[in-house]
């Protein structure tokens, strides 16, 4: 697969098929609460864009050897480094926007979108791939945010960029989380219809796993704590740093995706493929190669004698 098509595939996966907002339901808080007008939505999209790129690039450069429980805290520190100067400058130079943002600007320091993409892509990839993922995910997030802000401003205030349209009816409730979620629901349906038509093989449903919804929430806390917990599908490298985990995996003969030379490598590919996925043909070829090695060593010994 050429480099260009790999890049296009990464963009397609991050921005469309696994759209963070519409299919993965990530980073909803700030969008639902803040994208009430075009101005606010544009500002929010710009902050997220800058934050996402800086955090992913820094994570890719610095955090590959860091254990997960430190990494999670460091993502917040990176976000704080971006969000708080913006908050300070906004308060100083654009007090109206700062008032509208209320407490939601500092809350962007714990945006789940950033932590998830850093954990899923940045710490497992090179800087280039992390950068492309950050740009595509934040652009798709930004586009949805801006469309949402545009629609909500028209419906709630009857204006676009503060220019009155003199509409007969305004619906102020659209500025509440109800309005945000309702419009996001319709946007998600529109994008899903587009994906189904354009990429029939891609299944955006996979971005939100519904297989466990019928399980009971009851049980002893000890049992519940033992249940598997991977709500965002981030991989299996929790306790160890990524490099430590890869070493451990190699020792235990588990195949890594880069070792499998899989042409269909994409974001849907699990990062670590366990040995149980090996077929009998793999075992058979391994036995054959062992026998060949044995024969050749015996022949070498015989030749020497």
């Amino acid at each position: 697969m050429s480099n260009q098509s790999k890049v296009l595939k990464t963009i397609r996966n991050s921005a469309i098929i696994k759209n963070p907002l519409l299919f993965e339901a990530i980073g909803l808080c700030s969008v639902v609460a803040l994208a009430r007008s075009l101005k606010l939505a544009l500002f929010l999209a710009c902050v997220t864009f800058v934050q996402m790129i800086i955090c992913e690039v820094l994570s890719s450069l610095l955090l590959k050897n860091v254990k997960r429980y430190w990494r999670v805290a460091l993502y917040v520190i990176f976000s704080v480094m971006v969000v708080f100067p913006i908050m300070y400058l906004t308060l100083r130079f654009f007090p109206n926007i700062a008032v509208n943002f209320g407490i939601f600007l500092p809350l962007m320091a714990v945006n789940s979108l950033i932590a998830l993409h850093c954990e899923r892509v940045a710490v497992k990839s090179d800087v280039k791939k992390s950068f492309i993922d950050a740009v595509s995910a934040s652009l798709s997030y930004g586009v949805v945010t801006i469309i949402l802000g545009f629609i909500r401003e028209i419906l709630a205030n009857g204006s676009i960029w503060d220019i009155k349209l003199n509409l007969p009816v305004n619906i102020p409730v659209i500025t509440t989380p109800f309005g945000g979620l309702l419009i996001i629901g319709f946007l998600a349906a529109a994008l899903k219809a587009f994906v189904n038509a354009k990429y029939p093989d891609a299944s955006p449903e996979k971005a939100f796993d519904l297989s466990e919804i019928r399980r009971s929430h009851r049980g002893s806390i000890q049992d519940l704590m033992k249940e598997e917990f991977n709500p965002y599908g981030e991989g299996e490298d929790d306790v160890f740093s990524v490099r430590e985990y890869k070493k451990k995996v190699r020792k235990s003969k588990i195949k890594l995706p880069e070792e499998t030379n899989n042409e269909n490598e994409s974001n849907e590919t699990p990062l670590f493929v366990e040995e149980k996925e090996r077929t009998y043909l793999d075992d058979f070829s391994e036995i054959l190669s062992d026998l060949e090695n044995q024969n050749s060593s015996e022949n070498d010994g015989g030749d020497k004698q």
């Binding site: 999670v72 805290a73 308060l91 309702l182 629901g185 998600a188 519940l224 306790v239």
Partner: protein, 197 residues
């Protein structure tokens, strides 16, 4: 008795009358995602309640320091994030010393600590000028609000999953968003916010 009633009224306020998740939008992503994993409801709710209550209480006490009181909102928010980071690291230290460093526990603590619901608590307390007792009530209420949200969304998910008349493009997250929007509208009604005027 007065303390108990103060805690109860603050908890009810953030749970029902101004439900932080449906009316405020805090932690909506976590609530929607966790509603698809009901087995995780109580472990996550316990961690979120502990983090929101402890952070809320510590920050209210920090806000009473005269030097901190005079700082502007940016520095207040910075202090709250620092306290949250400290709290997270302390929890991790306890978990490591206790010897329970399982991937599941680390994931749970990470998601519970760094979400908007937990960090919003001290910011709401600061803006509403809550007393320490009210802050404890609000912290507990935040955890319970999360439980209510996850249970209500999960109930809807089960019905949506079996409903065959939903068009194909609305199946999955689009239907979940619209259902959550209707729940949010119900809580907006409880809070007394005007809808069409």
């Amino acid at each position: 008795m007065t303390y108990f009633l103060t805690i109860l009224s603050a908890a009810l306020y953030v749970m029902v009358f101004q439900n932080l998740i449906f009316n405020g939008g805090y932690s909506l992503s976590e609530a929607i995602r966790m509603s698809a994993k009901p087995r995780q409801l109580f472990p996550m709710a316990i961690f979120i309640t502990v983090f929101s209550t402890v952070l809320s209480t510590i920050c209210v006490f920090i806000d009473t320091i005269p030097y901190v009181k005079n700082l502007n909102e940016v520095f207040h928010a910075l202090i709250y994030v620092s306290v949250l980071l400290g709290l997270y690291l302390l929890t991790m230290l306890i978990v490591i010393i206790y010897g329970q460093v399982s991937p599941k526990t680390i994931r749970r603590i990470g998601i519970a600590a760094f979400n908007t619901l937990v960090l919003a608590m001290p910011l709401i307390n600061y803006r509403s000028a809550f007393t320490p007792i009210e802050a404890i009530g609000a912290g507990l209420g935040a955890g319970l609000a999360y439980v209510i949200a996850v249970l209500l969304i999960n109930l809807g998910l089960k019905r949506l999953d079996t409903n065959k008349s939903i068009p194909k493009c609305f199946k999955g997250t689009p239907a979940i968003f619209i259902y959550t929007a209707l729940l949010s509208l119900a809580f907006t009604g409880i809070s007394g916010t005007s809808i069409f005027i």
